[in-house]
């Protein structure tokens, strides 16, 4: 009996400590507002450190097995479990955030970007720290999402509801900014002089890596210092001349042929390193200067930077984080029908944004807000000629590689074959599900069935678009081409060793361009898309559950969607693991 009393007493004390410490941590975070407004990274870091200490105490209580037992107590059990989640996950978030701000503060003080790097470990610490912070934020978001706030008490319900919204936004922002930091720090820390080609893509006209290269920048880095060597438009690239692609893999050449020689189509392949290397080689072939790396970015990244610098007024149009993507993808064509005026407007926008960036008029909170609100499917992709740097990009999943490894991986990309800007209206809903086991593949493996379902929609209006947006530059073979119609080439990469038992387009057997690339089967669909219509593509696959060494393949199905203006809806599922016989 005495033992039971002590047990309960101990538990109550620990739970009280947990709530008090948690409250202390929340108080510390709230007191950071002033430091955030003053952009005082040092103060933010110190404040986060205090909050991390408080939440560590809460986590200590939350991890206590006796406290965890109280999580099963009726009525208040849910409150204790929720506080426990916030304590445990929040601790990692705060600790990672404290580390990131601390390192960032030191980097700012060292004049990174303007002066040579004196402490290289700081740069890599920032990169690693952002990765850790992102992981912690994503975990907190996932765990919080599983909490049913309706069952909470003591005012926790409203607090958790608010926390869910805030953390969800933070998770989106973090997932978008982290790759930028990972690529940026990798680029900036190169000790020797490196030249980077930045392909600025227009996601309104899709390509394998995102969009047609609308512009480019060539920047050089050397021990932390950045220099803009050159920038220009695709018109300038075209003047440079065609690219010699005869030394690239035969399958790649067979699939895309002459497209690879044209700067506008060079990035048709889903495997970004191919496109990057061709851009680099093309530059060297024609300009005689070595390019060491290539970065691909699109309107999504630009909108995030717009959030960082604030609203800009250009000839009566205010461009800010909320309308940057819409304006640069759609509205600009309608508002400024004269191409020269349109170019002048974007030039003025660029100039003002540049001035603010140079002057350091940058809002990190604005950047986060823009990132959180960025609904595009844009993501930065990076390639380096240097193998070790490329491994870093690969590790951070920013390399845009098509994996050659066995496993349940499917990748989808889109290429605009109509020659227009209608992909501002293109949406994709994709799913990949692993199904029944005990099926052999024709390719000699034990296997399972799987299904890839793709709903590709052309949501463009049937009238009212500027001619530049909904034109058709592909050869006319007499098919129906009302205003707003488009043509898309959809590429689907199946898992290594897989095969398609059947393929349908809108329920009828589909004809596909078949190929193999990177040891993976692929199918290309040539789709005429009338405005306001959806094409449903279904691939019924049989894919291996063992590799060439008879080792069992495991892991969740992975579906990699295209980089596109409207973020694709991706869903993957599995009926469970299959056993080898």
């Amino acid at each position: 009996m005495v033992a039971l009393v002590f047990f309960i007493l101990y538990g109550v004390i620990r739970i009280t400590l947990m709530f008090v410490s948690l409250q202390g941590a929340i108080g510390e975070v709230q007191s950071l507002r002033a430091a955030v407004q003053n952009k005082d990274l040092g103060e933010i870091s110190r404040g986060l450190g205090k909050a991390a200490d408080s939440i560590a105490m809460a986590d200590s209580s939350a991890s206590d097995p006796i406290v965890q037992l109280f999580g099963f107590v009726p009525i208040i059990g849910g409150d204790i479990r929720t506080a426990s989640i916030v304590s445990s996950d929040g601790r990692f978030v705060l600790q990672a955030a404290q580390e990131v701000t601390h390192v960032a503060n030191q980097l700012v003080k060292s004049g990174v970007g303007k002066k040579p790097i004196t402490d290289r470990t700081l740069v890599s610490s920032l990169r690693e720290g952002m990765g850790a912070l992102d992981s912690a934020v994503q975990k907190l978001n996932t765990d919080l999402a599983s909490v049913d706030e309706a069952g909470l008490h003591f005012g926790l319900d409203s607090k958790i509801k608010t926390a869910k919204e805030v953390v969800a936004s933070l998770a989106i922002a973090s997932s978008r900014i982290t790759p930028l930091v990972q690529v940026g720090t990798t680029v900036i820390e190169q000790p020797e002089k490196k030249r980077w080609f930045v392909s600025i893509q227009n996601l309104a006209e899709l390509r394998g890596t995102g969009g047609i290269t609308g512009a480019y920048a060539v920047i050089s880095t050397e021990n932390g210092k950045l220099k803009l060597e050159e920038y220009g438009s695709d018109k300038r690239l075209l003047q440079i001349g065609r690219i010699d692609y005869k030394n690239y893999p035969q399958e790649l050449r067979k699939l895309w042929g002459a497209d690879l020689s044209d700067w506008r189509d060079i990035n048709v392949s889903a495997h970004a390193p191919y496109s990057a290397q061709m851009l680099a080689d093309g530059w060297q072939q024609n300009r005689g200067k070595r390019v060491d790396g290539v970065l691909f970015i699109g309107q999504g990244v630009v909108s995030q930077l717009s959030g960082a610098v604030g609203p800009i007024d250009a000839r009566g149009v205010v461009v800010d984080k909320d309308n940057a993507v819409e304006f640069l993808s759609k509205d600009i064509y309608a508002r400024f029908t004269n191409v020269q005026t349109k170019d002048a407007v974007v030039g003025e926008l660029a100039s003002e944004m540049f001035k603010r960036l140079i002057a350091g008029k940058v809002s990190v909170s604005g950047l986060f807000a823009a990132a959180a609100n960025d609904t595009t499917g844009d993501r930065i992709l990076a390639w380096s000629r240097d193998k070790s740097t490329q491994q870093v990009f690969s590790k951070y999943r920013v390399s845009g590689e098509i994996s050659q490894s066995f496993g349940p991986n499917v990748a989808v990309t889109l290429n605009n074959a109509g020659g227009n800007k209608l992909d501002a209206y293109t949406t994709l809903k994709a799913s990949y599900s692993l199904g029944v086991c005990n099926v052999d593949t024709f390719t000699g493996y034990q296997g399972r069935r799987s299904r890839v379902t793709l709903d590709l929609s052309n949501n463009s209006p049937k009238s009212g678009l500027p001619a530049y947006v909904d034109m058709r530059l592909d050869t006319d073979f007499g098919e129906a081409r009302p205003k707003g119609s488009n043509r898309e080439l959809m590429t689907v990469y199946g898992p290594v060793g897989s095969e398609a038992e059947s393929i349908t387009v809108d329920g009828a057997p589909g004809f596909t361009i078949n190929g193999m690339d990177r040891n993976r089967p692929l199918w290309i669909f040539d789709l005429n898309m009338l405005p306001g219509t959806t094409k449903k593509i279904v691939l019924n696959l049989v894919e291996p559950i063992n590799d060439d060494n008879d080792e069992k393949l495991s892991g969740k199905p992975s579906l990699q969607g295209p980089v596109m203006l409207n973020a694709p809806s991706l869903n993957s599922s599995s009926t469970g693991e299959c056993s080898l016989q």
């Binding site: 990174v112 970007g113 024709f442 007499g478």
Partner: protein
């Protein structure tokens, strides 16, 4: 972090903004060869092909590049630029190249002249798991080299199939045996009369038939002194 983001962003924005309204250009303008067959086929199963994006009225034919005895099939591109043709397929498993006749630049609707090809695979793939062993590593003690293997395709054991096993010394064939797989898809080939020291490997070859594609596997090296 503020400065770092700033400096990187400068380059991005400078280049991005002035040219976001890019020149448009369509991908995939050249003629294409699409197939109704999306995976490996059963030998003898006919194949339907669509040759698309060819100027209407142009002659187009398809044939197998490396399969004898099957006639080419010809047609003329329709008003929509498509030619749909169906061709018989080889009776033996393997990968065959389906090829179009040369499509002139004029018929390629502005693209360069082209001959399109597509690899089409027939039959299942067999996998062979091998082991090589010897009764003795000294050639003076009259060793017997045995090569054991299991032949299967997925979970199916391939029974009563003829297998050729070549014994190589330093990469050069010195002996050869023909064996048959048993009910478990297994076999053992024993090589006697081994007189020379050196590195031995065995090459196990499975010849293509109407059910299975050809397969060839080389064992690990075995060194005799």
């Amino acid at each position: 972090m503020k400065i770092k983001l700033t400096t990187l962003a400068i380059a991005f924005v400078l280049a991005a903004m002035p040219s976001i309204p890019a020149l448009a250009y369509p991908t995939g303008q050249a003629p294409t060869l699409s197939l109704s067959a999306s995976g490996r086929l059963t030998p003898g199963q006919s194949v339907s092909a669509t040759i698309a994006r060819v100027k209407p009225g142009c002659p187009v034919s398809i044939s197998w590049k490396n399969a004898a005895g099957i006639s080419a099939v010809s047609g003329t591109s329709a008003a929509n630029g498509n030619t749909v043709l169906t061709i018989a397929s080889p009776a033996i498993s393997g990968t065959y190249v389906l090829t179009t006749s040369a499509i002139s630049a004029e018929c390629a609707a502005g693209a360069a002249a082209v001959t399109l090809t597509s690899n089409v695979s027939f039959g299942k793939i067999a996998t062979i798991t091998t082991k090589i062993a010897t009764t003795n590593v000294s050639v003076k003690k009259k060793p017997v080299i045995s090569v054991t293997a299991t032949v299967k395709s997925g979970t199916a054991l391939i029974k009563s199939k003829s297998i050729t096993v070549d014994l190589n010394l330093a990469g050069k064939k010195v002996k050869s045996l023909k064996v048959k797989t048993d009910a478990k898809g297994a076999f053992t080939a024993k090589f006697t009369g081994i007189a020379k020291a050196g590195k031995y490997t065995a090459v196990v070859t499975f010849t293509a038939d109407p059910m299975y594609d050809a397969a060839k596997v080389t064992t690990k090296a075995l060194t005799l002194k």
